[in-house]
């Protein structure tokens, strides 16, 4: 089966490592994915808050393009995944939205007939490929690596498309298949603050800090994420978040933990050479952790 790969804007910017590692995993697992022809921005959460109707039309262009190719969409970015899913549901539920969207699509020679499925890589890996097939392809098991699985919001909420909303386990199972030890992480679906770090920084930092301290307290070596914005928030503001703590111990010993995309860990286990999976793009290096666990790296 062939999929239409919809990268989204972030995977061409701060989330480049996500795209590089995802494509590496596709190759290792022999998943045929072709980039969606001339895809456009899905509108993300920002467009929704200024002009809702227009944002559905924007998202629907991508749906219609994939439908024309008769392929399911793979959307790795959490915001894209939710926006595309939500657009499908709202077109179904609200006749007014449907009218606006179909007229707009007709104007550019497209049509949307609700025949496309929007999938997340987690869903495809677990349900189309399966844990057993993945475990069989692991060449470098991530033995002894303790991973905190962080799902964030928009993959499991508001629609439970392929996993439980309060305690999702898809990523846990995939990483265990790769030989890693998945630690209990109760905040796995708590919000990372989204763009709040940029707009209202004091609040954003608080949310980021809870997530990192909880992962470190539970003994994690690395946090695995599924969303470019979560990854950015958790990785880039660790020093700032520690500075906010009154506890003198954190001042001396600031928060520091590598934050990777789950696909980077999978690609590593599946034997993709290090250069193509974006490890060098991390601001908090993973190499010392891997060396301590004696996991060979490129």
């Amino acid at each position: 089966m062939k999929y239409a790969y919809y990268p989204g804007c972030s995977l061409r910017g701060t989330g480049r490592a996500y795209e590089e590692s995802l494509l590496a995993v596709f190759r290792s697992l022999e998943i045929e994915a072709q980039e969606l022809d001339d895809w456009n921005c899905c509108g993300a959460t920002t467009y929704l808050s200024v002009d809702e109707l227009t944002s559905y039309a924007l998202a629907a262009r991508n749906l219609a393009l994939a439908e024309r190719e008769r392929m399911d969409i793979i959307a790795p970015c959490a915001a894209c995944y939710l926006v595309l899913n939500k657009t499908q549901r709202y077109i179904r539920d609200y006749p007014d939205i449907k009218t606006v969207v179909s007229r707009a699509l007709t104007a550019i020679g497209l049509e949307y007939r609700d025949r496309v499925r929007v999938r997340h890589p987690l869903d495809v890996f677990l349900n189309d490929i399966g844990v057993k097939a993945i475990a069989a392809k692991v060449v470098k098991p991530l033995k002894g690596l303790k991973v905190a699985p962080y799902y964030g919001c928009q993959i499991v909420r508001p629609y439970a498309t392929f996993d439980d909303q309060r305690n999702p386990t898809t990523m846990d199972r995939l990483l265990e298949a790769c030989g890693a030890t998945v630690i209990p992480y109760t905040l796995k679906t708590r919000c990372c603050g989204g763009s709040q770090k940029g707009t209202l920084p004091e609040v954003g930092l608080d949310l980021i800090r809870y997530l990192i301290t909880e992962a470190q307290k539970n003994g994690a070596d690395v946090i695995a994420t599924v969303c470019p914005l979560c990854q950015f928030n958790l990785e880039c503001f660790q020093k700032e978040a520690s500075g906010q703590l009154r506890d003198a111990q954190f001042r001396r010993d600031p928060l520091s933990i590598p934050v990777l995309y789950f696909t980077q860990l999978m690609a590593l286990a599946l034997g993709a050479p290090g250069v193509t999976i974006g490890m060098e793009r991390s601001l908090v290096p993973i190499e010392p952790v891997l060396a301590a666990k004696e996991i060979a790296y490129a």
Partner: protein
Amino acid sequence: MELKWTIKFEADRDREFARWISHTVGGERIRHCLQCGLCSASCPLSLYMDYTPRRLMHLSREGFKEEVLSSASIWLCTACYACMVECPKKINITHLMYALKERAILEGFYPKRFPIPVMARQFCRMVRSSGRITESWLILQVFLRSAIWRLLGMSNLGWRLFRAGRMTMKREKIQRQHEIVTLLDSVAETRKELAL
């Protein structure tokens, strides 16, 4: 010490606003709200809010437009959908937050140079002109228009991201840009025609 009266009267209500919220997309069930407070309890940001989601739902369905639209809460919502999952009456709270944000921007209920509406405006402009978002340019434009001084504090991070190849000055653009413009114009036209 002086006592502050916060009593509201029937006459303070804006009935048009109350009608609007229960007829907008996602607001169909707002009248079913039990005021149970699960939304506020599950909200990771309610701690920072002046009106928690539960109070906001009640105030808006009763028509307290001023209080609702000038509340900080609508800007604090990150759209994490925790409230919506917990709501026993399946009220689309997150979506209503979007609707309130949209209305607050439309009616100018926000402080000058407030970054959220600035970001929203720049985002929409970039979609119209390029079809895709280039994060580095978006961030730059938002801070130039809202808080220039904060760019200085971020220059170190920007440089590190640039060196890691995660910030680029090259602008992403789709090939058939005219399609996006036609699409956006068509939505505006239909909206006018159907008065949505």
